[in-house]
Symmetry: C2
Subunit: 340 residues, 2 copies
DNA sequence: CTCGGCGTCTAGATCGTTCTAGTAACACCA
DNA sequence: TGGTGTTACTAGAACGATCTAGACGCCGAG
């Protein structure tokens, strides 16, 4: 058995440096009110003892806690990228991050309450599934920022990506390189599927093109299945609900002996790690996770520090063109001109 | 501006129920020493006020903290599955989990120290990259359990998967269905790459077969690259370092017009979400994340509660056969017999 | 009638910090 | 000389829980 030694406290440092506890506290958090000479003395003593302030005590006592609570879904790989970026944004503004995952058998309310129990000064929730009323309840306790979802009611901040703009970019890109017969494989009942569906319809209408929409979903299987119902009358380009769905479409096309993008162009959405797979090189609409995360962190901190009212910020996505989209082949172009 | 209301404390509940703070504490943590009638009264008052004990205060005061610190890599999708399972295991034993990610610009020491500052009673580190000495330093403060890595020194617990057994299963599976010319695309400098390399060599030796090993790595690109150097003399089966590497191999083979598993069988390792992709259906060695996570949580709690010495537990992986491995084709079998 | 034991309950100390209020020393200026 | 600042520091109260030690009422045994 190894003996577990007690960790040094502010008291130990104070004794070692020959000052009061309060002064150690002042030095440790870089507050004004200590002479440079004693500051050095205290810092030295702290370093010597390997002292680190105890978050529990600090969080308990101080009103200004500098702790952001972040909830994410352990099953969504995409959320990990946001976590990553949120850490960077938070630490650069001098804040700590408390993580809590929504997992199997661990509902969102549990994750949120855990964050609150740890004394988070604000909550950042990635694509929360709670109702606006439930969210408002938490917003009564601390500022709440919803990330990737914007219909969250008045008292809750939101940072989201402009789905309509994203779809417009996709459509403009494809029509710009000659495509006319474009299909959208939608996300079914997934979050923001309805928005993207409507945007696709509106954009195709605007251009006077037929808006063909096929029921899909967020997984590879959904993409594969949708493709099957498309085989009889293949379009020249597909905009999938997301990257995984697009992946299914690409694989399905290849299995049928068709070439992407020579025969059919395919666009994804999210610009996730799947899109970057070297053999795939999927063209995709990027929501720019780091940017969104930074924006959410900023909103949260501004709400904590200032007395601003909640706001809904919308960021504009951008298109990342890789190798699954290419100009319409000339022979296909002819056949399309003949179509009704 | 919405007014942030103060959250109720043990004092509020005590007043509402007409008892002392201490009694509320006793009731809330289910300790003995309260009459059933008052217990109900307190519980009722707590429910009414929406009271939840404050983790910071609880953790600060009590010696027995019931909090496990878990560090994971935000970039490793595989770790998310472990987080998921760890939550389940921890809550089933009445423990809370504190998460801390190793991310870009956030080294492992920072993640660990954050967990310690929050008062974790034990640490579970997923595939830690620190040296045995550094780990021992932390183990002097709280019990430390290393997950997926076992060369961590004496004072640190470890829970890992038997890599040799995993490779043996892969080799036995392939040889059992007729394969003789098997190649291992290794993991380069990645964690446990050396172990798997040695295991492959030993197992092939045992069977009197040539152990051909190609430098690879943990990503799709590594798999693709390795495949390129293989084209001149294609084996009938490949054991890749992990699933992502295997994915690159499969895609590369398909791009060359070869069929998997008809022309070449491919085995992955990890049984990650990639392996389960519907169009891939990769045969893979599963380390069984939920099981490992549960074992790590159990070790940690046993160390906290009992006074057991650190131990190294090794779990046996199992093979999940899907659609990328099939019996050796007869025509290939002949040509192999002729080979030296 | 006292005593010990048991079950129930409470006052007050405590965890390691931060915060508030205040002291002491010293300089500045009228 | 005495008021007014300013700077450097400190004592002690908080924060919200748990824990320790002990009080109180009640019962049955001596």
């Amino acid at each position: 058995m190894t003996e577990q030694q007690r960790r040094p406290t502010v008291m130990d440092v104070a004794q070692a440096a020959g000052v009061s506890r309060a002064l150690v506290s002042i030095v440790m958090r870089g507050a004004p009110g200590a002479a440079e000479s004693t500051r050095q003395k205290v810092l030295e003593a702290a370093r010597e003892l390997g002292y680190r302030p105890d978050s529990r005590a600090r969080l308990l006592r101080s009103s200004r806690t500098r702790l952001l609570g972040l909830s994410f879904f352990s099953a969504h790989a995409f959320h990990a990228e946001i976590v990553d970026a949120a850490y960077a944004a938070a630490t650069s503004r001098g804040y700590e991050l408390a993580l809590s995952a929504v997992a199997k058998g661990r509902p969102e309310t549990r994750a949120i309450e855990s964050l609150l129990d740890f004394g988070s000064a604000a909550l950042i929730l990635i694509s929360p599934t709670l109702s606006a009323e439930e969210l408002a309840g938490y917003a009564g306790q601390v500022p709440v920022v919803s990330l990737l979802r914007d219909d969250v009611g008045e008292p809750v901040d939101s940072v989201s990506s402009d789905d309509h703009a994203g779809i417009r970019m996709a459509v403009d890109h494809l029509t710009g390189i000659g495509h006319r017969r474009i299909v959208h494989i939608d996300g079914g009942t997934a979050v923001s599927a309805e928005l993207r569906r409507a945007a696709f319809r509106a954009e195709m209408d605007r251009l006077g093109l037929p808006a063909r929409i096929i029921p899909g979903g967020p997984t590879e299987e959904d993409g594969l299945r949708a493709l099957r119902s498309l085989r009889a009358d293949l379009p020249s380009a597909v905009i999938a609900f997301n990257d995984r769905c697009a992946l299914g479409v690409v694989e399905g096309l290849r299995a049928d002996g068709l070439k992407v993008p020579d025969d059919v162009s395919v666009l994804g959405y999210d610009d996730s790690q799947f899109a970057r797979l070297s053999y795939l090189q999927l063209s995709s609409v990027s929501q720019d996770a780091p940017l969104l995360a930074a924006a959410a962190v900023d909103r949260a901190i501004d709400r904590i520090e200032g007395t601003q009212a909640p706001a809904h910020v919308v960021s504009t996505p951008h298109l990342v063109v890789r190798k699954t989209s290419a100009p319409l082949r000339d022979d296909l172009r002819e056949s399309v001109r003949l179509a009704p």
